[in-house]
């Protein structure tokens, strides 16, 4: 793959630009997909009558009916398995899992079935399944609803892992994910649902293979994804006031990682801070740091820094939760360690 990272697109000045939220963008994407293809349906806990645990599918039951917006029992393994079966049978299911913590109950289905069947069947059984789930902390939901396990899924060959961090990606990643013949997992960070801003309706399907430079810079690269992107952008803004020009790379696709974009940004700035809400040990941040060492070692002018969550179950108390998570000031401090 020799593609370069796409530079962040400015919101288009087209007539189709409207202010929306990340949550609405995701809903529009699902509704559009369901209108376009009758094989597409949504299932999960509380997606129908309740409108989704985070309100993403609110109103969809009314439009598409209970056949296509299906409330399931509280059994992640069962309904994810049902989704895999439906995909094998020619449907295009979207399975919503309430949080990544609960997805562990479905891990057997995802890892042992969805990710393997194509390979074990000699290419006869593709699984065109999309699984959406919420990830991350910051909303006082305590340890069993707040973890960031994207890195665990990014470890698994046979699936594609996406982390839309902008409204545009929330709006336009789903269609190509559904079109992908293999399982795709979409991680929606809980803190992003209320993100509001302009959305270009006619932007077309998003590219699922490349990372995006969200801000250009010369002195250091902040490499991040998902819920940490806004924090990295804030940090870059603060750093600019201090005369440090930080580039922000949004990974977007966590598997397969866009190696060329990572190498290219480090080659431009010669320093990197990886910002990842997961725990440091065995994290995606560790993977990215290792890849920088493998592919851009001779470009480095400082050791790679990592800003990750404290290695504790995410606390409930607000001040403790905030203290456990990567914050803007942590990113700024890491940048100073690398640059000063």
């Amino acid at each position: 793959m020799t593609t370069t990272a796409t530079t962040a697109k400015k919101p288009r000045a087209s007539s189709a630009t409207a202010t929306t939220t990340y949550r609405e963008a995701m809903r529009q994407a699902m509704s559009e997909a369901m209108r376009a293809d009758e094989r597409v349906f949504l299932m999960g806990e509380d997606v129908g009558r309740y409108g989704g645990a985070f309100g993403v599918s609110l109103g969809m039951l009314e439009e598409f009916g209970p056949e296509r917006i299906r409330d399931t029992p509280l059994s992640e393994s069962a309904f994810t398995g049902a989704g895999i079966g439906a995909a094998l049978a020619g449907m295009r299911p979207i399975v919503e899992i309430m949080t990544v913590n609960f997805s562990l109950l479905a891990l057997d289905q995802i890892l042992n079935n969805a990710a393997t069947l194509l390979h074990m069947s000699g290419g006869q059984l593709p699984v065109p399944l999309v699984i959406r789930m919420t990830t991350g902390a910051g909303r006082q939901l305590a340890a069993q609803h707040s973890h960031s396990l994207e890195g665990w899924y990014a470890h698994i060959p046979g699936i594609r892992v996406l982390a839309p961090a902008t409204i545009e990606d929330a709006r336009h990643m789903l269609a190509p994910a559904l079109a992908d013949p293999d399982p795709v997992i979409i991680f929606e960070h809980g803190s992003l649902y209320n993100l509001s801003g302009p959305s270009a309706e006619d932007a077309g399907p998003a590219d699922l293979t490349s990372a995006a430079v969200r801000r250009e810079g010369r002195d250091i690269s902040l490499i991040t994804y998902g819920g940490c992107l806004p924090k990295a952008l804030d940090a870059a803004e603060q750093l600019a006031e201090a005369g440090i020009s930080a580039e922000v790379l949004d990974l977007r696709t966590l598997r397969p990682l866009h190696q060329d974009a990572i190498t290219a940004t480090v080659a431009r700035t010669h320093r990197a801070v990886v910002v990842d809400e997961a725990w440091r040990t065995g994290s995606l941040a560790a993977e990215i740091s290792a890849r920088i060492m493998e592919n851009a070692f001779y470009e480095l002018d400082a050791p790679v820094e990592r800003v990750c969550s404290a290695e504790v179950p995410i606390p409930y108390a607000h001040h403790m939760e905030q203290a456990a998570l990567p914050q803007v000031e942590d990113i700024v401090a890491a940048v100073h360690r690398a640059v000063d």
Partner: protein, 430 residues
């Protein structure tokens, strides 16, 4: 050695003007041969070649000012032995001193035997010397980022001569660019504008500029020393009666050319004392002390007009006094006439300054980085001194020590001055 580069002739040197080439393409050169004359902010210096081979191409014209590390000439591999049948007696002589074991070890460890100080009989290099040199080599690997290393390689900068600005003295890309004279980070045309700039700079340099440049160079280095080195100072008064008596006796019997002055005895004692206190002989690099394998005494020489230089008396601890005296005269004359060798300006492992001839009794010097100590001697003064309960008028000198507290503590410094004192009480042993 494919390239002969502008050497760093001291921690304060950033660039030099190539005044004159003493070799031409096609000439065969040996390690240590003087190949060019370079003018630095401080002095005119005869630069020696670092390796042996045939001069293939001169890359820099005389009169050009270039940054330290800039390639000056391409030197090809030494001609095969049969092509130079007359050479072997000279070239071979160096190798024959070392035993096959030592040569094999040195090859395995990548140690250059010509830089190793032999401690065996007659100065031969022993197995232990090679081991030490290899250990030193490992310790002195400079701390540098991968990018800095790559740039240093591309720009021909010797990493060990670069002061790192990063955490723990890590050398970073910008430090290399600074040394190489690159204000702009990478990209763009490099060589041409730099050369043009250098030529302009050389043309503009007049005598007045030179003295200003020297003041600036001294200023930069001394500021850095005082900024970075936590100096501590010790002083003691040494009874020179025994040394003085011995010296007069020696001078009475010696031919004029071999007569001594007190400075020679003081320098020899200062060098010998480092055998007992090696903690003061070496360099502070990368946050730790790297002991030197030999004693190269830097002797501060005030230049007529302005400034000073501190060329090395190589292996001062092993020189016989008349020999040391001759070398001292030679190096002083050449320093004042601006004809020092590169190795003399770059090598000192400790510096000695004597302001006795100016009449002062004590001098507390500023350490010359990356050295860790500076010894000062004042004027030899007749003072009333009590010896064995009786008061007498005896020649005395005030010896001082400025030392880097990072590398040593006061007790070490005290032991050093006490050792200098003890050695001067037995002048016949010097």
């Amino acid at each position: 050695m494919p390239e002969f580069t502008m050497p760093s002739l001291g921690a304060d040197m950033e660039e030099g003007t190539l005044l004159e080439w003493l070799v031409h393409p096609g000439d065969t050169v040996h390690k240590g041969d003087v190949v060019a004359v370079v003018e630095t902010a401080k002095s005119t210096i005869e630069v020696e070649c670092f390796g042996s081979g045939t001069v293939e191409r001169l890359l820099v014209e005389a009169g050009t000012t270039v940054a330290v590390g800039t390639p000056l000439a391409q030197i090809g591999a030494a001609a095969p032995p049969q092509a130079a049948p007359v050479a072997p007696p000279v070239a071979g002589a160096v190798d024959e001193v070392h035993s096959p074991l030592v040569r094999r070890l040195a090859a395995a460890e990548g140690v250059d035997l010509t830089t190793v100080h032999g401690t065996g009989p007659g100065g031969t290099i022993t197995r232990a010397d090679v081991d030490h040199a290899a250990a030193d080599k490992a310790r002195t690997r400079p701390r540098a980022t991968p990018l800095a290393r790559r740039l240093a390689d591309v720009l021909g900068v010797d990493l060990r001569r670069v002061t790192g600005s990063g955490a723990g003295g890590t050398v970073r890309a910008d430090d290399i660019r600074k040394v190489a004279g690159h204000a702009e980070p990478k990209a763009g045309p490099k060589a041409e504008p730099r050369k043009a700039e250098a030529r302009k700079a050389a043309a503009a340099r007049t005598a007045a500029d030179r003295s200003a440049a020297m003041r600036r160079a001294i200023g930069d280095l001394m500021s850095r020393s005082k900024r970075e080195i936590p100096h501590y100072y010790l002083s003691t008064t040494i009874d020179l009666a025994a040394a003085d008596t011995w010296m007069r006796d020696h001078n009475r019997r010696a031919p004029v050319a071999e007569r001594l002055v007190p400075a020679a005895l003081l320098l020899k004692a200062a060098a010998l004392a480092l055998h007992d206190v090696p903690q003061l002989n070496g360099f502070w690099t990368d946050d730790h002390f790297v002991p030197a394998t030999a004693v190269h005494l830097g002797v501060a020489v005030a230049l007529r007009g302005v400034g000073l230089v501190a060329p090395a008396l190589h292996d001062a601890d092993t020189l016989e006094l008349p020999d040391l005296m001759r070398r001292l005269k030679d190096v002083t004359i050449r320093a004042r006439s601006g004809r020092l060798r590169g190795s003399e300006t770059a090598d000192p492992t400790i510096t000695v300054t004597s302001l006795g001839d100016q009449g002062v009794e004590a001098v507390f010097g500023v350490i010359y980085p990356p050295q860790v100590a500076l010894v000062g001697f004042g004027k030899v003064v007749m003072r009333p001194t009590a010896v064995d309960g009786l008061l007498g008028v005896r020649p005395t000198v005030t010896a001082t020590l400025s030392a880097d507290h990072r590398a040593s503590d006061g007790a070490v410094g005290a032991r050093y001055l006490a050792t200098v004192d003890r050695l001067l009480q037995q002048p016949e042993q010097l």
